[in-house]
């Protein structure tokens, strides 16, 4: 050891009293520039956990971590930034579909431990959480495409002259372009009742592989052309791109794919073990839930028969939805895949009590998906007068080819999709149509686009109109008498209720009154011993997590069972019963017995 080394500790101490080499910071703290890219901030209420920030980060500096339970429209995940990797490029901020992520202009943070430089902005409190300055997304420079490729449609003036489909459909180029807007976050999967693999088929469309897209779609939806045209599309309501722009046209993309193939038999490839060989299943009601059960059981080897009272399968999508939205060839194509897969279809056949008893005896399982066929009454005097009719009956008669007596001036009472469909069909039959709805226009349960389309075609909508009575006029017409309503907020958080303003009567002289205020269950065909066991007083049927009713071996789904009463929820019910029936029949492959955890739905 040298003398130098021996003296080193002492000479170091001597340095403590000498003038430092470093200069003191004369300026003290200096604020970062107004648009400085400093430590991240995140408005976690606005953030939906789509993960686009993590996806775009070229330094792999961002993890998505669970901070809350996932719900529809929010994955419950939030980004956590690792500053050992972040290069402050701000791509994460610029891509953020919700616009929640930003960067403060704060740049000083001192820690002894390098591993501490990692936090969840907006969740782990930081001094700069409320920084007003710093980098923010700027309009016009965001990295997601906010504008939907417009859907070509028939001119409103042309539409009412024909029954031609109003929506024309995307071209290949338009579909690929629209698909490329998707960030593949999967929020839509949570919102879809059937949990369709939406980002996956959109990616396949973007990549130009329509066959793959079709197979991904058929993986859990046997009526996708119907859904591609008329779905209530809850998926689009939660689309992350929709937070600041137009949501992806998920419905139109599905429509595009299904329209590319005329015959599905050689395109859709089922690769399932035929575990159901020798097992028999009867399905009462050929709507979307019944079709779903039939298709996925038939490809598994089950001997499946559908009994349908009307001349065609499809349920409400056949007899309720007008052909300018969902044309017959689209429906027939999907039905053909059923018959091609071995499903036996008995149409024009209403199952009655004794036959139902026999079906229960002869089959390993019976599925009921008979829907809601009994229209609710107007609950106002005069509803029995000639010229007052139910939308459901009118639409059904029209669609099975019976002559429908619509003429002159028509008032449609109601605000749902059935009311809109009845209005637009009446228009096409040559009538002049007004809708009377008891709540505000924003409260109408009908699809916004449908309402817009109806108005564009010339339907007049009178909101806050409560029917009082219908009277016959001297010249054989009808006097539809209604009172105005005011909206009253009775309970916080619930939608306001319409309250009649007493003493005011408005008269509308019309030729027809079409009632479209909802529909209920009708079980007169069902043996009492079954109906008593499975249905409540109002006719709703409750099922367990396997889709089975309280009557062993009888499963149910569709509008009878779920509270949403749309086609995609019916398909979801059908999917649940597909697993339930296999389980009940003791043929569910072990691997499939895991995974899904459906929840019993009580109406």
């Amino acid at each position: 050891m040298s003398v130098k080394h021996t003296l080193a500790p002492f000479s170091a101490w001597l340095q403590a009293f000498s003038k430092p080499f470093t200069l003191p910071d004369k300026h003290g703290y200096r604020e970062g520039a107004d648009r400085y890219r400093g430590w991240h901030i995140n408005d976690t209420k606005k953030c939906i956990g789509c993960g686009s920030c993590a996806e775009i980060c070229q330094n792999v500096a961002i993890d998505m971590v669970p901070v809350d339970d996932p719900v529809k429209g929010d994955s419950g995940l939030r980004p956590r930034v690792d500053y050992g990797r972040c290069c402050w490029c701000a791509l994460c901020v610029d891509v953020c579909p919700s616009g929640s992520l930003g960067m403060s202009n704060e740049y000083i943070w001192v820690e002894a431990d390098a591993d501490k430089f990692r936090y969840i902005p907006g969740v782990d409190p930081k001094p700069w959480d409320n920084a007003e300055k710093g980098w923010r997304q700027e309009e016009g420079f965001d990295l997601v495409d906010h504008e939907r490729v417009p859907m070509p449609m028939l001119d409103p003036a042309e539409r009412t002259k024909t029954w031609a489909e109003v929506v024309i459909g995307y071209s290949e180029e338009e579909a690929r372009q629209e698909a490329s807007r998707c960030v593949e976050c999967g929020l839509c999967v949570a919102a879809c009742p059937a949990h369709m693999h939406i980002p996956d088929y959109i990616a396949a469309i973007r990549d130009g592989d329509d066959i793959a897209a079709l197979n991904i779609i058929y993986d859990n939806n046997p009526m996708p052309e119907m859904c591609g045209k008329v779905c209530t599309r809850r998926c689009e309501g939660v689309c992350s791109i929709g937070v600041q722009g137009d949501p992806l046209a998920i419905r139109w993309l599905k429509r595009y794919v299904t329209e590319q193939f005329d015959d599905l038999k050689d395109v859709v490839h089922a690769e399932v073990e035929r575990v159901g060989e020798g097992k028999k299943v009867a399905i009462v009601g050929g709507g979307p839930s019944g079709v779903t059960v039939a298709y996925y059981l038939a490809i598994r080897g089950f001997d499946v028969t559908i009994y349908e009272a009307l001349p065609q399968l499809g349920g409400a999508t056949f007899f309720g939805i007008p052909k300018y939205r969902f044309p017959m060839p689209s429906l027939e194509k999907q039905v053909k895949l059923l018959t091609d897969s071995g499903v036996k279809i008995v149409t024009n056949h209403r199952v009655e009590k004794d036959e139902m008893r026999q079906l229960v005896k002869d089959n390993d399982a019976v599925f009921i998906g008979t829907g809601l066929m009994k229209p609710y009454g107007l609950r106002a005097p005069g509803e029995d007068l000639p010229g007052v009719m139910y939308a459901l009956d009118m639409l059904r008669d029209h669609h099975i080819g019976k002559k429908v007596d619509i003429t002159g001036k028509v008032v449609v009472v109601g605000g749902g999709n059935v009311a809109i469909d009845a209005s637009r069909v009446s228009l096409r039959l040559g009538a002049e149509v007004t809708i009377a709805y008891r709540r505000r226009k924003v409260d109408m349960p009908a699809d916004d686009e449908e309402i817009e389309d109806a108005e564009a075609e010339g339907v007049e909508i009178i909101p806050q109109a409560i029917p009082l009575r219908v009277e016959q006029t001297g010249d054989g017409r009808l006097d539809f008498i209604w009172g105005p309503a005011e909206m009253v907020q009775e309970e916080e958080g619930r939608r306001p209720r319409p309250k009649l303003i007493e003493g005011v009567e408005n008269h509308m002289i019309v030729d027809r009154v079409i009632v479209a205020i909802g529909q209920g269950a009708e079980h007169s065909w069902m043996p009492e011993e079954i109906a008593e066991k499975i249905a409540d007083k109002r006719g709703w049927i409750t099922v367990d997590e396997n889709g089975m009713t309280a009557y062993e071996g009888i499963f149910a789904g569709g509008d009878l069972v779920n509270s949403t009463a749309d086609a995609i929820s019916a398909i979801a019910d059908g999917l649940r019963a597909v697993v339930g029936i296999q389980k009940y029949a003791g043929v569910l492959p072990q691997a499939e017995d895991e995974g899904s955890e459906p929840v019993a739905i009580a109406k």
């Binding site: 998505m64 971590v65 996932p70 691997a591 995974g595």
Partner: protein, 181 residues
């Protein structure tokens, strides 16, 4: 200022021209025109200063774009002279004889994009990358994320939940067309 673009077009030919802002003009020319055009601009017009030289990878077109930004220092007006070169034969004439500082730009572009400027003094000499053994990192077919993952292991404690997969799992997404779904 537009007259300068007209004159360039007349003397050297131009593929396109544009006045992006009153103080920023753009013109697109063929690559073989670059040296004569820049020589003429420096000698006979107020655009005497080379402010920047940059490249863009138009991978879909199989081309690189080179942009020479010249400035009129008195009038504070800039002129972007743009040209496209083949991406496979990525080579362009050096302008270091006109502006010595071009050597540094050409060295950087050579390193970041792999575009070669024959005759330029520091071609192939590392600029900011040390011991780089991958394709040039500013080429768009360079996979930054894969490079990061293979060269820079994460610190302990990192865990990422993919939203798409997570949602599918939590909400019971499943398929019915294949047994292995």
């Amino acid at each position: 200022m537009m007259h300068i673009l007209d004159e360039i077009r007349e003397r050297f030919g131009a593929e396109w021209q544009n006045e992006q802002r009153p103080d920023l003009l753009q013109i697109g020319v063929q690559a073989k025109t670059i040296v004569p055009l820049l020589t003429w601009l420096k000698a006979h017009t107020p655009f005497v200063q080379l402010t920047h030289l940059s490249a863009v990878d138009w991978i879909e077109d199989g081309e690189f774009q080179l942009t020479y930004l010249l400035t009129d220092p008195k009038a504070h007006v800039s002129l972007m002279v743009c040209t496209r070169i083949d991406r496979e034969q990525a080579e362009a004439e050096s302008i270091h004889a006109l502006w010595p500082q071009a050597v540094t730009y050409e060295q950087e572009i050579n390193e970041m994009f792999g575009i070669h400027f024959p005759g330029s003094p520091r071609q192939g000499v590392p600029f900011i990358l040390e011991g780089w053994n991958d394709i040039p990192p500013m080429r768009r077919d360079f996979d930054t994320v894969a490079y990061m993952n293979s060269h820079h292991p994460s610190r302990p404690g990192r865990e990422h939940t993919d939203p798409r997969a997570y949602i599918g799992k939590v909400f019971g997404e499943r398929g019915y067309l294949h047994d292995d779904d």
